[in-house]
Symmetry: C2
Subunit: 136 residues, 2 copies
């Protein structure tokens, strides 16, 4: 897989789940289709479960399934569930000793926050059910 594949993997999987919301899928099946490892799948989907987007069941007939109707889950929900960010969050931690660095940081941060907001707004306009319809 490639870098920052968490979002791709998550959206891809939810896209398929939107087609058959009642089907339980195992992490092994999902991993094979996505070309990755079952543990990686469980790690990523685990976050979506914490966010209330997915349900998982242990045991013999276990697996993964949507927790909500496909038209209730937007791309933005997945984006924030995975804690994706355009900017490295550790920028905020640093104490800028230099006044110019400080001013720059404030300006850049303000712009990036706006951009991030508009990104999430754009992503929230599309549901995983929409994605399934868009594929023609």
């Amino acid at each position: 897989m490639k870098r920052n594949s968490r979002l791709s993997l998550a959206l891809h999987t939810l896209g398929h789940m939107a087609a058959e919301p009642k089907l339980w899928r195992t992490s092994a099946e999902i991993a094979e289709h996505a070309g990755t490892n079952p543990v990686v799948v469980r790690r990523v989907l685990g976050r979506l479960r914490q966010a209330g987007l997915l349900i998982s069941e242990k045991g013999h007939a276990g697996g993964w399934k949507l927790a909500l109707s496909p038209n209730k889950i937007t791309l933005a929900d997945v984006y924030v569930a995975l804690d994706e960010r355009l900017t490295a969050s550790d920028d905020i931690i640093d104490a800028p000793s230099c006044s110019i660095e400080h001013a720059l940081h404030r300006q850049i941060s303000a712009v990036m926050e706006d951009v991030e907001r508009s990104l999430i707004e754009r992503l929230s306009a599309t549901t995983i059910a929409d994605v399934h319809d868009m594929r023609h």
Copy 2:
């Protein structure tokens, strides 16, 4: 330094240069102020020279200086000179075998391109001279 520090280093340095545009600075001085290595400074500033934003001179009285007036250099100029991107460009290379993955990729790419465009537009509204004034 921290991740993706190229942009921070570049903007920070240009911010100082905007205060005294005629002063030649050595990579050693810049590196010390920024808490990094002279070679790293030369690598980053070299890109800005290629983009026509900076001038460098070898030899005894050499160093680095702005190639343009501070109010002619915007944050966007620096951003594009360093080839910074919100998204990994290798997303485009992959051939999506799955129709759902394909539809997702198209949708996400379109959104990200718009967002990137708006980011650059926002950054082009501020010059390094502005940054110097904002510091109060």
